[in-house]
Amino acid sequence: MSEPVRETPREMSARELARWSWRQLTSMRTALILLLLLAIAAVPGSLIPQENLDSVKVSNWQDAHTTLTPIYRRLGLFDVYGAPWFAAIYVLLMVSLIGCIIPRLFVYWRGLRAQPPAAPRNLLRMPDAISYTTSESVADVVARANAVLSRKRYRLRGGTGRVASASERIETVGEVAAEKGYLREAGNLLFHCAVIVVLVGFAVGSLFGYKGGVIVLVGDQYGFSNELTQYDDFAPGSLFQPDQLNWFDLHIHDFHVDWLTSGPRQGMAKGFRSDVEYQDGPDSPTKTYDLAVNHPLEIGGTEVFLIGHGYAPVVTVRDGKGDIVASGPQTFLPENQSFLSFGVIKPAAGDISAQGLFYPAEVTLGGQPQNITGDIGDKSAAMLSLQVWKGDNGLQDSEQSVYTLDTSRMTKVNDTGGRAFNLRVGQTAKLPNGLGTITFDDVVRWNKLQISQTPFKHVALGGVTLALLGLMGSLFIRPRRVWVRARETAGGTLVEVAVLDRSGNDEVDAVVSGLVAQLQGREVEELT
């Protein structure tokens, strides 16, 4: 800059480049493009299965698309909303937003204390201006303009409304400058600041929070203690500390379901309620709570939600020698709305395994078992239909789902008719060739609980509420400036009125004509 002699274009210095980049980043156009990028970037996450939503679906999808999987994995498409490129967009957007908001805060602060600007020299050059001649004096016109505008809660420019006498100027002139709608920009700024609050609340909440799931059998002898090892699945935020888990102990005393007994969804479950008994400290008294959908239980910052239920047949498996190799409730997962459920029995010892269906209420129609309702009633119609397999169930090898049976190293054991073993409660199936027996002892219910901590959720909620208020202000408040100038002329007092709509969305001509009507003393309906 100090060398004006050099005319050749030079490269930008680092400082200039930084300034230029900053200006680009904080421009409205960039913000707009980043917004649209954010919208586009969010799309794949709704079309490709996401790890955080359903990992089973993800692995099924990956098995079906072997070529695409490595590419997608590299691009982070199975966890779009945690992917770096997604984060890059919203971080840039936030920086752009902050860079845009801060200067505007200063501008607004100055503007708030500043006077409404004086009238431009030539009012009639404004896009929305009108003039008329009246026989009233300049002073009267100015006084009425003052009254009308302040009644409409305009802020008036100090010193306006004064009539310059003929001695000061060649002609008598009076003018009024007024402005209103300051809160629009305040709403706008509030909205954008609140967006930052929401994002911070959301981010901090997911960094420090966690979400876990556990299946708890219904009955006083079963239960759950809030320890990491007790969870079936656990998804902590990156800054989660295990000592955030507060001590509590709960069991489900009883579980009630209202079954629909009529209508097109007959046989489906409708209302659910669990009688939960819990202690929030080792020495605390036991409390009870009606846990239901839309009615979560909160224990010291941790919330417990009832999100699923099902049946667990109680099965005893004995080997050929009559020794018990497995005994107890086996969680079966419902396959449809009538709670026809699928499950696996995989004893750690012995070489008998089984998988099959559980029918809460079975009737045989045309030789085929059919489940008619999820309501187990007195358990007399409940049926367990098992396929039995012999061989290595692979339980020792590796981690595998407790809900699937790998039969690759097993052979099927059929009963004499080649059909599955169908058992009612209390019945025992004797396996051929003295392999052993399987007894269907009873059925218990289970509840799926989601247990989570969502810190700072009130920050996020408060932020969104503020954002909504700000948004309403920024969209519905109409900022405008009004100037009135009266000048003595040969044909009477010439009055010029101009309105500048600062939002660009106003019906300005209606405002101008309404204002003129009021200045002329005509009765008109009040215009905002």
Binding site: R29, A31, L32, L35, L36, A39, A42, V43, G45, S46, L47, I48, P49, Q50, N52, L53, D54, V56, K57, W61, V80, K211, G213, G263, P264, R265, A269, K270, G271, F272, A292, V293, N294, P296, L306, I307, G308, G310, L333, P334, E335, N336, F342, S401, K448, Q450, S452, T454, K457, A460, L461, V464, T465, L468, L471, M472, L475, F476, G504, N505
Partner: protein, 341 residues
Amino acid sequence: MSTHTYELLSNRAVATAGVVYFLALLSHLVEWSALIGRRRTDPDVVEERELVGAGGPAPDAELVEAQDTDDRSERVAMFGRLGYLLTCIAALAHATAVVSRGLAAGRVPWGNMYEFTVTGTCVVAVAYVVLYRRLKLSWMAPAVVAFVMVFLMVGVLALYTPVEPLTEALNSYWLVIHVFAASLATGAFTLGGIASIIYLVKRRYPEAASGWMSRVPSLASLDRTAYRIHAFGFVLWTFAVLITGPIWAHQAWGSYWNWDPKEVWAFITWVVYAGYLHARATAGWKGRNAAILAIVGLATLWFNFIGINYFSTTSQHSYASLPSQAPAIVEAPLSAGTVTA
């Protein structure tokens, strides 16, 4: 009346509304076809400030033609009024259908896709009827009536489900607030989107003196009308998607934001409309590009409502992290067919 009679009444009312909308559409089409080839001298056009015969005094030879023009403008006005009247009747039948559906179900009538379609189109129709005078929407008539009729019929033919109780997770007063706000916003966005589409068409024929484009108000006025409707819709959408949605989701599913496909698309819609509001204030994006953004927003909105149910590969029961075949108590509303999030 019993539940069943209410359900029948609702179905009859929907059918009636469909027929009357069709008649209204016919009437508007007659009105607009009469405009073709006609000069822009119609005194009943409210937003038209020019006087009749602005071109100057007509020579005697043109008197016959002027007479003809008068007849035609009378016809235009009459069919316009008839169309509006029929639309009012249809909207009344439509509203009756919504209310009796609610009485039949004993709950708010937006528990599945059929009910949401009927309610959503009803919101569009009622909003149009109410705003008709205030925003001078006569130019919008055929587009709105056609839209409402088509979507109502799609709802009846493709989405109809008998009255059934809600799944447990939907059984909350947040449903009332959340879905009501969402359907109001959907109605507003739809009206605004129609205004933006007409804006884009008008851009191609800005000076049309005859035909139906001559009825349409000026570009600036179209743009302002579209903006006002969108601004109203955006506030409601923010309330529905970013406040009541998360509150309800948190109560029912234990997590206020899950990036479930419905939530993702509601978010995308929100971002696109936020883009629209910014675009209107950005040089180079005003006018055409902003209108295109508004239409993209409308597309994402309706895609979220209908399309995502068919395209998404993510489990519908994904809120419970059980294997996907397990129907948890808490279904994502996708399967119940409600628009949420």
